[in-house]
Amino acid sequence: MADESKPQPQAPKHAIQTRGLNLWYGDFQALFDVDFDVRAGRVTGLIGPSGCGKSTLLRSINRIVERLGYVRTTGTIDVLGHDIFGANVELLQVRKQIGMVFQRPNPLPLSIRDNVLFGLRTHRDGDRKSRPSKEVEAQIVEESLRTVLLWDKVKDRLGEPAIRLSLEEQQKLCIARLLPVKPRVLLMDEPCSALDPDGTAAVEELIWSLKGDYTILIVTHNMAQARRATEECAFMLHGKLVEHTETAKMFVSPKNQSTADYIEGRYG
């Protein structure tokens, strides 16, 4: 609650705020009245048993879930203080500001360099004419790959297909390619579950290093990871948000019985 000496309208305290969020896939209701506040610049974990709606919640925050056609949503979602369902909202801008990382690394079938530059070339600063020079592009590629701790490994083979990288490197690349368009929020859906323990540790380390600069919301099934790699944690069950507190608090003294049961492994 520490009041800033200079109030900054540009940086609201909560990067993501949902109110009364309900979501239906056809007739099936997947989210019930979710009120969720994700604090800006922090790493927030989202845990809960399989099928409780974690991915659904994540996918509604960048509105990609609407692609399915048979999805209906009620309630509000504010990202960085702006209603993403507002009348004048351009979906492509929403997706630019909110990067998404998936369970299976999904680098594009392009070279490593073109993967990093894909988003940049897609959005081009919002100006049809602007086309970054080769030098600027090279600099952006280096910066992004350095940020995800991948530069030293790939700097000599930027032209190679991204698919030749190891899974861990692919996942880092998938994070790197979000950065050039300067998103404020990164959503990660079980980003480590396809990786081995070393890869997991490396990606966790990366996520930790990104906090502060980005607001990160990360879904995980791995309790140890939730404990290690998040600052706050939210527990979902049957489409409802049950509990949301500091990670340390949640794992030591969960308020809700079902949270406690889940953390101790009494759910699937």
């Binding site: 056609g69 979906l91 492509l92 990067g99 999904n106 079938p109 894909f118 979000l178």
Partner: protein, 289 residues
């Protein structure tokens, strides 16, 4: 303890029988191809020469070469391609990448499948009615090629759509999640990865088009026309019709002539098929996944 039972022996005999049966059917399939090629080369080989390919037919089509027919077939196929590729590929992109899954899309798909099943003589009559008469192109390369194009469209659409759909969905989702539009996704990720399949499909289709006779017979191919067409509104000779003519309509043709024509036609098709295989291999090596 490991001795075969009576049942094992029985199953084993069936196994052997089936293997021989399937192998036999496969050989039976290859046999006609081999025989056709062998007969063509044996009987038509002597007719082949540089002059055969580059000179006009003479002596009431019993002597001379097949130059106008060869050029005519190439022209017909090229114009047909120019008409069918843009339409077919665009339609396939729409159906694969844009079309919602509703009754209209299903209806279109059904229409395409049925169009592919329409006999070529029916296409010929349609071409005659639509292009020759209604649009007033007359019997011309344009009318014949458009008829061929209509006939090949469904196959171009289906093969292109299959190539597009072979590009894994997660690639598209990754693009959309980065805020790329559908077209940006198609242009930068989907098409480059589907292009080898698309081209292969088109070339195979071309090779079939080259041999079609019925659709061009009423719409643009001439019986005998010993000079080259000057525009797409002229008639032209074509290899397939020429083969039909010298084989059945003209008296006193030396035996090697029709075989020679057939050999050239098959040669064209084989060259195009090999080109498509080569192209596919080159493009596949450049794939990034």
């Amino acid at each position: 303890m490991f001795e075969p039972t009576e049942l094992n022996a029985h199953n084993w005999r069936i196994e052997q029988g089936m293997r021989v049966l399937f192998l036999g059917m496969t050989l039976l399939l290859v046999l006609p191809v081999v025989i056709i090629l062998a007969v063509l080369v044996y009987k038509g080989g002597p007719a082949l020469s540089w002059a055969f390919l580059t000179e006009n037919p003479t002596g009431g089509m019993t002597t001379g070469g097949i130059f106008p027919a060869l050029m005519g077939t190439i022209a017909l196929v090229l114009v047909a391609l120019i008409a069918s590729i843009p339409v077919g590929v665009a339609a396939a992109i729409y159906l694969s990448e844009y079309a919602p899954d509703n009754w209209l899309t299903r209806l279109i798909n059904l229409a395409i499948i049925n169009l592919a099943g329409v006999p070529s003589i029916v296409h010929a009559l349609f071409g005659l009615g639509a292009f020759v008469l209604f649009f007033g192109f007359g019997t011309s390369i344009l009318a014949a090629s458009l008829t061929l194009a209509i006939m090949t469209l469904p196959v171009v659409i289906v093969s292109t759509r299959e190539s597009l759909q072979a590009v894994p969905q997660p690639f598209r989702e990754a693009c959309w999640n980065m805020g790329a539009t559908r077209w940006q996704t198609i242009a930068r990720v989907v098409l480059p990865n589907a292009i080898s399949g698309i081209l292969t499909g088109i070339i195979l289709e071309v090779s079939r088009t080259a041999g079609e006779t019925a659709p061009i017979m009423f719409t643009g191919a001439a019986f005998f026309l010993p000079f080259l067409p000057e525009s797409v509104f002229d008639q032209t000779m074509a290899l397939s019709l020429h083969l039909f003519v010298v084989a059945t309509q003209v008296p006193n043709v030396p035996e090697s002539l029709p075989y020679g024509v057939a050999l050239v036609l098959i040669g064209m098709v084989l060259i195009m098929n090999s080109a498509s295989i080569a192209l596919r291999m080159v493009l596949r090596n450049r794939k990034k996944w």
